[in-house]
Subunit: 338 residues, 2 copies
């Protein structure tokens, strides 16, 4: 059996996460039991939700256990199989974690999914045609429920989730306005993803200034907001909401280190009769097939062109992860493992 490399959570962050929270070990991959499959990971997905799980706090998911392999989505190839449905060479997606190989009990529902890489590159199954894409699809269609002609704002618009939100919104006849950090990301959002506009939040000192910039590109106000960040961007968008606006709360990355991120104007929820709703896409598995179908078509046809930041090798994973939490990635953050 091949030699495995694994990254464990060694200790929990106090405030900001750091590389010292992680530990790398080497081990043998165990021999397969009946029903098991050995997968060699080609890509590891790095996602903001992982930061939340590093805390030992009540949250929607159990905390990442200490001393165990960091959990995470992986895309790879079957190298050995004792399960009739999987053959060596099959491309598969699963939750293999921060390691080079995983042994998967393929009988467990949802543990391993074969994917077709004819029209969609393998890595995109961890992004636009995977969990982040379905997250975008769910928040947009099930929480925001936009109508053609309405204006939607998306924060972290160049990211794996945000980019899909905008393209899905455009496909529904909406005006899509992004918020992103820096001119390069904003250019990608408008020129490559086809958003109608994108605001660089780093160019604005506070929520009121950002809100004024939003007013210029949202002449009819804001009907829906896809929330990935929290804090000042939320406040700025809320100041522009129309009556009956909907906010899909998908992430609040600004608060993941424990920093307070108060919402400045909750009274707007009343005066604008807004709906603000949080969701976790893994609790809505029933929508995945429909969502993945649309996302696969958008990627296959070139309407959704996902950007990727790819770190090289497992050792690079912690720094890539910490950089993503600070917005240093551009698009979906991956680690190439093979």
């Amino acid at each position: 059996m091949p030699q495995n490399q694994q990254i464990l959570l060694d200790n929990r962050p106090q405030g900001e996460a750091s590389a010292s929270n992680f530990k790398t070990i080497t081990s043998e991959t165990p021999a397969l039991q009946d029903g098991q499959v050995l997968v060699r990971h080609h890509f590891l997905s790095l996602d903001p939700y992982m930061r939340g799980r590093m805390n030992d706090a009540k949250s929607y998911a159990a905390p990442q256990p200490l001393g165990k392999v960091m959990q995470g989505g992986t895309a790879g190839e079957v190298v050995e199989s004792r399960h009739p449905k999987f053959q060596p060479g099959d491309k598969v997606v699963g939750m293999g974690g921060w390691q080079l190989y995983s042994v998967v009990d393929a009988n467990a529902p949802g543990s391993l999914r074969k994917v077709d890489t004819t029209h969609v590159p393998l890595s995109h199954y961890l992004g636009a045609v995977g969990m982040p894409g379905v997250t975008a699809w769910y928040g947009l269609t099930q929480v925001i429920e936009p109508k053609a002609g309405q204006t939607l704002v998306v924060s972290a618009a160049s990211g794996a989730v945000g980019s899909a939100v905008g393209v899905l919104a455009k496909a529904r006849g909406c005006r899509a306005v992004g918020v992103a950090g820096g001119p390069d990301k904003c250019r990608y959002v408008t020129e490559e993803l086809g958003f109608d506009a994108c605001i660089d939040y780093k160019a604005h000192a506070d929520a009121v200034a950002l809100s004024k910039a939003l007013a210029d590109v949202c002449p009819d106000g804001v009907d829906g907001y896809f929330e990935n960040v929290g804090g000042m961007v939320t406040d700025a968008v809320m100041l522009r909401t129309n009556p009956f606006a909907r906010i899909a709360v998908c992430g609040m990355i600004a608060g993941y280190d424990g920093k307070p991120i108060p919402m400045a104007y909750p009274q707007l929820i009343l005066t604008n009769r807004m709906k603000v709703q949080g969701f976790i896409v893994s609790e809505h598995m029933e929508v995945w097939p429909e969502a993945l179908k649309e996302l696969g078509q958008l990627v296959g046809s070139g309407r959704l062109r996902p950007r990727e930041s790819v770190a090289q090798g497992l050792d690079a994973a912690p720094e890539a992860f910490l950089g993503m939490l600070k917005g240093r990635n551009f698009g979906k953050q991956l680690v190439k493992l093979a």
Copy 2:
């Protein structure tokens, strides 16, 4: 025609509202045109929403115009009628405003409603069996949608809206927990209204302390919160929410003077996959008949025993209104006019 007395909005508040924002004038009631009805007001309703309308700010309702009679709900008696459906002596409810008499165009839909005072005292049609009661009914049944056995928290629990929320929740098999200001109000909430518990927010220095007190009386967490106040109470309740909790945002009286009332922990909307929704009952007229029927039965059977604070005479209206904004009233705030 009788001599009328009217209170106008003379100027808009800067920060806190004060008696000097109002002006009283005397006038003749005009002669009736065809289709009009002259109503002598017995009771004027004072409600927190009026404070919002005194500002010249974008909100769900147009601002109260300067120099015009303050708008408000009234219950009274027809004294003269040129409309076939109304006879002198009829008891009626409408939006007569802060004045002794109103001339109503009875053909305008919803302008005047005859009420039956056999089992329900006239004044209650401005409270438990009127707009505040329907507000409670709507927020509870249409936004919170509680299930039997769930725990609901209501702020301003002794008020016109809050008291009805609790009784309606108990009727649905829920645990009802109130938050109110002072031991007298808390005693009324538990002993007369039948809430399971009531917390005196004035006995707690901050949201964390209040939250601990809530934990004691909400051993299974909080599944629904009926929001009337905003600020510290909101934060305290949010810290106790269960997954999939719903918040019906009906009022945020703490912020009506323009004071900031940030929501401290918006990230809980995500981690608990909450729904936070604002509403205005006047936009949901379709539910009024069903709601008023249940509320009338609860009052008629003595299960809902509304408290009233009754100020005497139109001149007392401004001080009674300002006192209500500070929580000095106990139950529904009315002004007796005849």
